[in-house]
Symmetry: C2
Subunit: 326 residues, 2 copies
DNA sequence: GGGGCACCTGTTAGCGATACCATGAGCTGG
DNA sequence: CCAGCTCATGGTATCGCTAACAGGTGCCCC
């Protein structure tokens, strides 16, 4: 920086100003400095800047399994939004979902002076981890419940599940069975609640939900049980991958989709249009959730208080796995 | 830090030593300092440390689309390995795959003083971007070709494709058609080469490969064309998602899998065992690739020169989409 | 004509850690 | 008994940058 200053015939302070508040420097001086910067290929040292300003331009993301479609897409959305605002994203993934690891993840990021943290861990244990936060660190949650002490961006799972359930009822099905995700996941319980309320609103019987683990494997295993029940004609499955397993189980048991049984998934993974049959599902706009979360975090960093909640509406995508009641 | 020193009755220098080279401090002193650290919940300021040491404990990952299963899994593997070695990972995703964006991604990371960069962009354009690197920055590539000036960790696409092709030939098929990925992707061309060589080694006819874009959609569209050719009895598809589209196209055209046509995919995404029929495919151990890449980067940071190449062997997983020639 | 105000640029003092060298205590051995 | 070594610790300078204030110039307007 000293060299740049010398080459441009100004002081180091002026170089700093050109880079951080260009409007405060006379255009000719600014041009000279910028020329010198290019000439010497000068790059400011971020560590020194962080040391004195206390802000790093880096935000942290705490996340559980970034190979899952949902978290990966959310992360991608965050990263894109961050890039557009000249932020860099550091990630801390967790070996397990519990309070201690979440706290450790946040600490790991904080020790690198991130300006804020986005937690992508839609699990009950996140709530505990978020209740004891280091003071002064802006934190935003993705997909969490209403009981969190921080701002939240999330897809409205309840609405999406209700919509899917109503779609099945509107096709004449007497009631709708549900294969849910693991009970401690916020998305899973939101979908259960939405499904249940839609059934109750129409006065339908509410079958006991079955519980899977998000994998196609669990969908298949539990699907085999459902396939043997003759009065099961409509199933709302909590994600597309489990729905894929259910579809296979139904087929193997000789029950046709959608002629005998209708199936609705959740997520709209890019492949779901190519399932057999193409899957009716609920699309979640993960990218939008990521962007909203980033925006909330920016607000938080700028000093906005309070616990805002940004809901993203999901969308029912009707394909060929649903049909009228046999 | 000053406060910790005072509370422990030592100088700041000794506190620093306790944290960085504990063996150089007498055990009793060390214990007093550690007690003070805990008492005050002291955390070292990484910016100050970076400023003086020049090393940050952060590594950067440049990546294209982290919602794709392969890149996401690789990133996850890198992140896990990094966590175990107390490194933090920053990501720079690219809006497009070309030299300019790759360079910009690396620059963005470098401006945050990362200790090194892993490039996950198995595309020809990466090669150009990697030929003009800032000197002194350790860089490792994932999935790149042999012509790169940096160390590379990769799955042996050539071997995997050859294995898949030989599997089909061994079932009696006269030859094997290929649906490849986009031609500028290194993985895609590696798989084409492996497939071609396996056919040529047995003196079989080599059909013109068809080109998709990794999506189930493209697999479906191109699959419809293949399904109409009666002498197509075996297809090696360059990834599982395209294979899914091919399976649907074949089914819709009335050609049974595997009785009429055999299909092999590539990747072994977690769902491929629940395709219809369950997909024979080539498993890539992305996590291992990530770990190897991280290890190579550590070596590079430690000063090891040269362009090592770490190959991870893929594994053929035989399921029900392949059978003897009709 | 000069007080006052913009506007631009420079000087100085840290931010919080570690590198490097100095210091002093305690021990060893001829 | 002291030169000379090891070991533990401390003092000081420094990394590269920006906040805060100071100073100088030119212009406006009373």
């Amino acid at each position: 920086m000293e060299d740049v200053a010398e080459l441009a015939g100004v002081s180091a302070m002026t170089v700093s100003r050109v880079l951080n508040a260009p409007e405060k420097v006379r255009p000719e001086t600014r041009a000279r400095v910028l020329a010198a910067v290019r000439e010497l290929d000068y790059r400011p040292n971020s560590a020194a800047r962080v040391l004195v300003t206390g802000r790093s331009g880096v935000l942290g993301v705490v996340s559980f399994d970034t190979t899952l479609y949902g978290p990966a897409s959310t992360l991608f959305g965050i990263e894109q939004a961050a890039r557009d605002s000249d932020y860099l994203v550091s990630i801390a993934s967790l070996p397990a979902l519990n309070r201690s690891w979440i706290t450790r993840g946040i600490d790991r990021l904080r020790s690198q002076s991130v300006d804020g943290v986005i937690v992508v861990a839609p699990h009950e244990s996140a709530a505990e981890g978020l209740r004891h936060l280091p003071p002064g660190l802006p934190v935003v949650d993705v997909g969490g419940g209403t009981d969190l002490p921080v701002p939240v961006a999330a897809v409205d799972q309840y609405a999406g599940a209700a919509r899917a359930t109503r779609h099945l009822l509107s096709l004449g099905h007497r009631t709708v069975w549900h294969l849910s995700g693991p009970p401690n996941w916020i998305d899973a319980s939101g979908r259960v609640a939405g499904w249940r309320s839609a059934l109750e609103a129409e006065g339908r019987e509410v079958p006991e939900p079955l519980v899977g683990d998000w994998t196609a494997y669990s969908g298949y295993e539990i699907g085999k049980r459902l396939a043997r029940e003759p009065d099961v004609t409509a199933i709302f499955v909590a994600n597309d991958h489990m729905a894929m397993g259910v579809l296979r189980a139904l087929r193997e048991t000789g029950r046709r989709v959608p002629e005998d049984v209708s199936v609705v998934g959740f997520d709209d993974v890019p492949e779901s249009a190519y399932f057999w049959p193409p899957l009716t599902t609920v699309r979640q706009n993960f990218g939008e959730v990521g962007r909203q979360a980033f925006q909330l975090l920016l607000d938080r960093i700028a000093g906005v208080e309070g616990k805002a909640r940004r809901m993203v509406e999901p969308e029912l995508v009707v394909r060929e796995s649903t049909g009228v009641r046999p």
